[in-house]
């Protein structure tokens, strides 16, 4: 091993020793439940993560002690609500290492963030014949908005292929880039395969072709530290509910100059500077993109979720999850007939697999009876399922609260499913 590899291994070992997963598990009330008479083994955090007590309490506290509409009232309570809401924005800025709070736009979810960019940046700046590049392993939320924009504006939409092991094919991407490329919209981590894409390199290449780049970070921010300035991302989106925060709040990061150049997404209250019956002018960032009363309590809850993972440390969470990923990969590989879909060298703790010709829903039903919750189906990523020639997969995804013994429970349950169907 090289010196750096030795150091890395030593760091990993140290992180593992100090990572008190049982303590963190106690923060998540739902995990102490039983399911079908068995302890709940929740392995579907990639669909939506569970919430720690700190987030649940924070959302309650908003309604109990500091709730009023934001940016409106001249009274103390409204000022407190505004401080809490804007405080959450500052936490998210810090979390992503964005340069300014005003580059953080709160949306409903990652889907809305992407639609916002398609409807404002895309409609204003893209011309017929311009090209957008996505990849074969995008979530539907990073495919459909671009198809709609393509059809409306007469654009060309291209998809970078993925290799047999689920890697983003950088060489193919290079060949696709040209002066026609105006936008590159790629996942930072695939929800279906777990692949982590070489985002910094993608951004560099996109920029050298004169294109802007958007990353779908919904699966990335939960598994690793993310720095939007280091990536040189023009846009970066993620959703709150996968990051142990409430549903109903998502984030769009955009470089200030781009957000300033873009027209508003929705019109209404909050996003205006002045309104007459003849015309209106727009508020400054970030309010320009936050029409109407926002998701106040959810945003505050997201801020607390960011505090929570930051206190543990994203690096430590990443190391813990990598240990689970390695252990689960090794154990699952020993199950007869089980094939892991997505074996890229750099992966987050997401494992998609097939088991002989047993349908994922049948597997899911059997293992659910053992208390194991896994997603089954196409994971809102049908094109990548087609790429691998499968209707769907069963997917185990791991969060900061999962344990090796839960991996064992998963493997036992899968063995039972295999026996059940005579696989």
């Amino acid at each position: 091993m090289s010196d750096s590899a030795v150091n890395q291994a030593a760091n990993q070992a140290e992180l593992q020793e100090t990572y008190d997963v049982e303590r963190y598990r106690r923060d998540f009330p739902i995990l102490s439940q039983t399911m079908n008479g068995e302890p709940l083994v929740f392995l579907d955090s990639a669909a939506s993560a569970q919430k720690p007590r700190q987030v649940i309490d924070a959302v309650s506290a908003v309604y109990e002690t500091e709730y009023a509409n934001v940016h409106r009232g001249a009274y103390e309570l409204s000022a407190r609500a505004t401080d809490a809401y804007e405080g959450a924005r500052a936490k998210v800025r810090d979390f992503l290492n964005a340069a300014h709070d005003r580059e953080i736009i709160f949306t409903k979810n990652a889907t809305e963030s992407i639609n916002l960019v398609a409807n404002t940046y895309g409609r204003r700046f893209l011309q017929p014949g311009d090209e957008i590049i996505i990849s074969e392993m995008e979530h539907h939320s990073n495919i459909v908005p671009w198809q709609m924009l393509r059809d409306e504006k007469g654009l060309v939409l291209k998809a970078v292929p993925v290799s047999d092991d689920g890697e983003f094919m950088l060489s193919e991407f290079k060949n696709m880039l040209s002066s026609k490329t105006k936008l590159v919209a790629i996942t930072h981590t695939s929800n279906a395969l777990g692949t982590v894409t070489p985002a910094a390199e993608i951004a560099k290449l996109a920029h050298s072709a004169g294109a802007k780049v958007l990353f779908d970070g919904s699966q990335a921010v939960v598994h690793m530290p993310v720095d939007v300035q280091a990536l040189d991302a023009d846009f970066y989106v993620f959703t709150g509910h996968k990051l142990y925060g409430p549903s109903g709040v998502g984030v769009l990061y955009g470089k200030e100059e781009l957000l300033n150049a873009m027209p508003p997404f929705m019109g209404g209250g909050e996003m205006i500077a002045e309104v007459t019956l003849e015309k209106s002018t727009w508020a400054a960032l970030p309010n320009k993109f936050e029409a109407g009363t926002p998701m106040i309590a959810q945003a505050v809850g997201l801020g607390v979720a960011v505090d929570y993972v930051t206190a543990i440390g994203m690096g430590r969470i990443a190391a813990h999850e990598q240990d689970l990923l390695n252990y689960a990969t090794q154990r699952l590989s020993s199950v007869e007939g089980l094939q892991i879909i997505g074996t890229a060298p750099v992966k987050a703790a997401v494992i998609s697999f097939t088991l002989g010709d047993i349908h994922p829903h049948d597997i899911s039903t059997i293992i659910d009876r053992a208390g194991v919750a896994c997603r089954a189906g196409h994971h809102c990523a049908q094109p990548v399922m087609d790429r691998f020639g499968v209707m769907g997969t069963t997917r185990a995804s791991f969060g900061l609260y999962n344990t090796r013994s839960e991996v064992d429970a998963l493997v036992d349950a899968i063995e039972r499913a295999r026996e059940f169907f005579g696989g």
Partner: protein, 154 residues
């Protein structure tokens, strides 16, 4: 735990799931319909050959799905062949009520067919699997009515 699973995946279901009957298209079909479950991506096509628009002379299906949906489709083709459209509709009502608890139970006397269909009733203990069992039947109904598409949401 295993008892409920055995109730859902009875031997008959496992057998039909692995070796579906009438798993082919009907070349001279008089109608067909496409069924899909958008939640899981399951797809199937049901082909019908109606004699004088009244009697189901031939019926078949192709597609992909879980053990429950394939078994349900397979059993359906066996049960409705040779039946009149009215009789097939009675069986649909029976299955729909049995699996979902919704609608009115069929008042028609289905005889031994009702017993054979009883194996599908296990899905009632598994609410998320009900649509797997009913997809083929909705698709059959769409084919009978001359529609082209059916979904498990119907």
């Amino acid at each position: 735990m295993m008892d409920e699973l055995r109730e859902l995946y009875q031997e008959v279901i496992l057998d039909h799931g692995k070796n579906p009957r009438n798993f082919r298209d009907v070349e001279d079909a008089t109608s067909h319909a496409h069924g899909s479950n958008p939640l899981c991506g399951d797809q199937l096509v049901v082909y019908l050959k109606l004699n004088l628009g009244e009697v189901i002379e031939d019926v078949s299906f192709v597609g992909k799905g879980c053990a429950i949906s394939v078994a349900s489709a397979s059993m359906m083709t066996e049960l409705v062949r040779g039946k009149t459209v009215d009789e097939a509709n009675d069986i649909f009502d029976h299955v729909h009520h049995m699996c979902t608890g919704e609608g009115e139970p069929s008042t028609a006397n289905l005889g031994p067919d009702a017993d054979r269909l009883g194996v599908l009733s296990g899905v009632r203990e598994f609410p998320v699997r009900v649509k797997c069992a009913t997809l083929a039947w909705h698709t059959l109904k769409a084919a009978i009515e001359g529609g082209e598409d059916a979904t498990s949401e119907a």
